[in-house]
Symmetry: C2
Subunit: 662 residues, 2 copies
């Protein structure tokens, strides 16, 4: 096993029109919009993510909370216990944008928030506005729900991004002070708290900080929190009991579902994806990263086991995860209802990063497959094409009537609201989308992997010598990817190019000569010796009718369509109401379409049939079965990520297939 | 229009072995068991009907509550606000049993409870143990949840049953005193409460009391409560505000969902089945009865409109109603998920009685169809064949794994518990099953209807002259019903015999001569002139493959099987796991089976196919679609009511049908 080398975020400049559009929306729409939200400016409607009167939707109050904590204002905390993280994610989004493009006004806004954070942070480094303002007696004493360490995790991620973008270490210093506070309070030593946060996040942030700094103490702290988790399943409940014993005023003492928190047994023994989906993937990412750098094979193997369970048994075809709103959680193998699921945008982002982390330690294109599946489908579906509206929940089947009238589906929104009471998803998108180029490459000690066909340029170093990889592609009827490598030396560079599973008849031409593309773990390798090399990969983009495992009840007799990295869906706007009465019967053709709202997209068109509703059904609910009458109907599919951008209507990813029934 | 005449419960002696078994279980198992529950005796496990820690499951405490209210004991109330009704339903069950068979010990138990009720009832007639013990300041002041009038309704129904069974008017006197208390507090007059209870029930009980006594004041009171409902949608909320204004100590002030209570608009304007399913059908039954006797055609028409909406758009094939656990409620037209539904036993009983009420005012066998559908399927499925275990929720598709691991299905029990925290369903069954003979006949001024083929004898009067109708039947391969009419006079009797929709080739022989059975509104009429007449109806019992309306998404491409009055289902015990992988492909044959647990039943057997799960699915969740491989498999169906009586396993009513897909 090769000693793992530090893998920092690759420096990638994206020029891909598909992704530049998102980067622009983040910069021009999301960042200014969220800035207003954080400052309670403007007339912003905040929606509940589901029918629940306890969700705070009056205002954001984030900046106000920090001002009160800093003593600059009087008042009480408002919002979720994790409200602080909204600001940290906003800073990270701003930083990731600044990394691409300078913007003095934006820097000034970030600096202003850093001033505020400095003022709000306690002398010992503690920073959690709710507890500072309203419940200091409970500092680190209700970890099942407090999100104190979770928020520090997001602070660290923001600090890293800001350092990478601007070189400024101001925010890193605040983060470091907060970490010192954590170190002072947590650990095995007598008198310290020997436990972890109810929401994993600090762990993965510490791995990133180790990658930035090379300082192993961060890695060790991450390992500590992973190791202590689930060792004492009653830890969270015991804290509440102790608070009572000490006579501390505290809130409710709910029965704690330790599976929800992945805290019922040691992480290394957790071999399926259980509990709250976002928590699980955040934890598993940290397991993969910490295990990799600590060369702890058991920890990496445990992370992989969880990953296999997700992608082989608990993941929607869009890369979405979480089968139920109750606990926003995983349920059991093959339980993937299309109309009740959760598929939170944050969870898909978590699965993206978890897969990316595993790719660092193991070259296998299956990880890149999931990176691609989540990015092009279940993640970007979380944002409207106007950059102003967002999904928390990304369903695979929607009937606006059901969302409005069946309370089991109150969380399944048929249209994207502009903001949520629990605003985790939009800022998570905002920090991820400008950084999408990072996932295109993985730089390892002995090789560079090209994972995604995104037009971009990687500027990198190997053994202190600069090299550059530029790629551009087209996904029109025939797929083509052009790759140029330029180096300052003749040192050998091993470049692995992923050949996606949706590629047919790949043809590889290196410096004008056709080469047999031998594929190993999903990558074909080119050894670059000269100072420059031109590689051309041409291929047919398959249009696949996918079927799900037979134990996925919800998809029985149905297929979903995929072309290239995109999963497709049908919308009422193209196919009429009652999508469930349609079936796919014939061939599928791609059609290039320029739509005012949807932009330039490749639609899929297919022969289909409509189950005709006879007149005699008028007053009848049940009748003796007759063979159904059908009429031909042309079916139109659009990429899944683009659904819900026109008028309110039905949407469906899985469609009945003529010969898919027994 | 014929002036409506009072229709009291017909006096019917049941000799049908199918129903005698239930009557025996009620007498020998349920009544003694519930007596122990009510008295907190024995080691009884009470289950939550769903994942909800607030459901009281520690004990019943019902008798204890009455003793405390009577001043015989000290202590506080325990249990639901409607806990008193458990006792009233138990008395009604006991009385309906006593009507069939004398039992001095049981009479003594009932008399003992009547002593207790007399002692507990306040001088002004008020009787509600929770408010009497713990919150008298809130008497009639939190009607949205108090169930005070609801409980009086059940007290009245118990009193009627006890009077009919024993002739004793002791309980009627308590009921009458309670009604006087209601009259003193409710009405249009200044200073009175001008509103209704959050749970309808009193209204239908008052109609029954009118039928017993002929006293119109009961009918008028029912009409008042129906009329006032929904006139002021803020009524319930206003009460809570007023309590605050008066400085009365009260509990929480939740946002009241007036649709749940059917109180958002006048009942006469409610043209669909909305809100809590039990409340809706109880209300609609009262609308039908009150409208009928008051000759208020608008009210009857409104009730019929609700009924049509239910049976044409919102009812499961088992007669179950309520599509969601959230609010135990109706949702919208054709929304009938088989694995998430509520289908509460009480709601099916309510639909039975609602249909029976409409049959009084309109001779149409469609009402009897629903009486039959609910009784033979969605009602008796609520009770195990041992008479000791009960369903609250009656699903049409069950996977024990889903019930255990997907919290959206925590209410869908895969096995019947012995008792529930909210114990409305078991005693509702206990009062209904001994009285099943009543639904076999409808006596009207101008005709007698024979609705159900149940072996029994009706003893009745027409114009003061006695007559008797005896029927017996067989549902073996060929159906046959023998009917004998005996009269003391030669006055003409018009007998309508329902020809069910599942009867094929009916042949009618009257006094040995074949007669052409002309059918009007689903009944064929025989005019009995002589003092006795023998009628023989022979028919083929159809085995129907039913399909649901195409807009019922959950049933698309599927059929359910029906033979005679019974809906069928598949169980894992007969068909193996993964029922959803089976499809019906061939002919269906009845098979007579004597099973140790299921008893003597007619099974259905059919040719089918099993979708084979290929080995290469092992680590794959999605793949490019291939035509499925199948192997032939014999399918076995059992009557739906009998499911869940063997080991824990999957169950499914709707099955994929080879040619049902487009």
């Amino acid at each position: 096993m090769i000693k793992p080398s530090l893998q920092q975020n690759p420096k990638v400049t994206v020029s891909d029109s598909f992704w530049l559009k998102y980067r622009q929306l983040v910069k021009e729409e999301m960042i200014p919009f969220q800035w207003n939200v954080l400052n309670d400016r403007g007339n912003i409607t905040i929606e509940s993510e589901r029918d629940d009167a306890t969700i705070p939707t009056e205002k954001s109050h984030v900046i106000e909370n920090f001002k009160i904590a800093a003593g600059l204002k009087a008042g009480h905390h408002y919002g979720w216990l994790f409200q602080d993280s909204d600001l940290y994610k906003w800073i990270e989004a701003a930083a990731n944008t600044l990394a691409l493009e300078t913007d003095e006004a934006l820097v000034a806004q970030v600096e202003e928030t850093i001033d505020l954070l400095e003022a709000a942070q306690a002398d010992d480094g503690y920073l959690s506005t709710y507890y500072q303002i309203d419940a200091l007696q409970l500092k680190f004493r209700r970890l099942f729900e407090s999100h104190e360490l979770y928020c520090i995790g997001h602070l660290i991620e923001a600090a890293i991004a800001y350092k990478e973008a601007t070189g400024s270490e101001r925010l890193l210093q605040i983060a470091d002070k907060a970490i010192a506070c954590v170190e002072a309070h947590f650990g095995k030593a007598e008198g310290k708290i020997d436990g972890s946060d109810g929401h994993q996040e600090l762990e993965l942030a510490l791995v990133r900080l180790y990658e930035l700094t090379g300082n192993r103490k961060y890695l060790d702290l991450s390992a500590y929190f992973l190791d202590v988790r689930g060792q004492k399943p009653d830890f969270f409940a015991d804290q509440l009991e102790e608070n009572d014993r000490l006579g501390l005023q505290q809130g409710s003492k709910p029965v704690i579902n330790t599976v929800y928190h992945q805290a019922d047994k040691p992480v290394i023994e957790q071999d399926t994806a259980r509990g709250h989906a976002v928590r699980l993937v955040y934890m598993a990412q940290a397991m993969a990263g910490t295990g990799h750098y600590q060369e702890n094979e058991k920890l990496v193997a445990a992370a992989k086991k969880i990953w296999e369970n997700i992608v082989q048994k608990r993941m929607y075809v869009t890369g979405g995860i979480g089968s139920t709103v109750r606990g926003e959680a995983f349920t059991y193998d093959y339980d993937l209802p299309n109309d009740l699921m959760y598929c939170e945008t944050c969870a898909a982002i978590g699965l993206l990063n978890f897969s990316n982390e595993l790719l660092k330690s193991e070259t296998d294109s299956r990880y890149a497959d999931i990176i691609e599946r989540t990015l092009y489908n279940g993640i970007i579906s979380g944002m409207a094409l106007d950059g102003k509206h967002f999904f928390y929940v990304n369903p695979l089947e929607v009937d606006p009537q059901a969302s409005a009238l069946n309370p089991d589906k109150s969380h399944v929104k048929a249209a994207r609201p502009s903001w949520f009471g629990c605003a985790c998803c939009p800022p998570n998108l905002a920090r991820t989308l400008p950084a999408v180029g990072r996932y295109a490459f993985t730089q390892k000690a002995d090789e560079v992997l090209l994972n995604l066909f995104i037009d971009c340029e990687l500027a990198a170093e190997k053994d202190g010598k600069a090299y550059m990889i530029r790629q551009s592609h087209t996904f029109s009827e025939q797929g083509r990817t052009l790759i140029t490598v330029e180096k300052t030396t003749s040192a050998v560079l091993r470049l692995g190019i992923r050949i996606p599973y949706w590629v047919e008849n790949p043809m590889l031409v290196v410096d004008g000569e056709e080469v047999v593309a031998e594929i190993s773990n999903g990558y074909t390798y080119v050894t670059v010796k000269s100072e420059s090399m031109a590689i051309e990969l041409s291929y047919t983009i398959a249009i696949n009718e996918l079927e799900a495992h037979p134990l996925v009840k919800a998809d029985k007799g149905k297929v979903s369509l995929q072309r290239g990295p995109f999963i497709y869906c049908m919308e009422e706007q193209d196919n009429g109401k009652q999508l469930h009465l349609l079936a796919l019967t014939g061939a599928i053709r791609p059609r290039f379409r320029s739509d005012k709202i949807l932009g330039d997209i490749v639609c899929l068109e297919a022969e289909g049939e409509l189950h005709v509703m006879e007149d005699d059904w008028q007053d009848t609910l049940y009748r003796v079965h007759k063979k159904p009458q059908t009429v031909p109907q042309k079916l139109t599919f659009i990429p899944y990520y683009s659904w819900g951008n026109r008028s309110l209507g039905e949407m469906q990813v899985w469609i009945d297939k003529e010969d898919a029934h027994v």
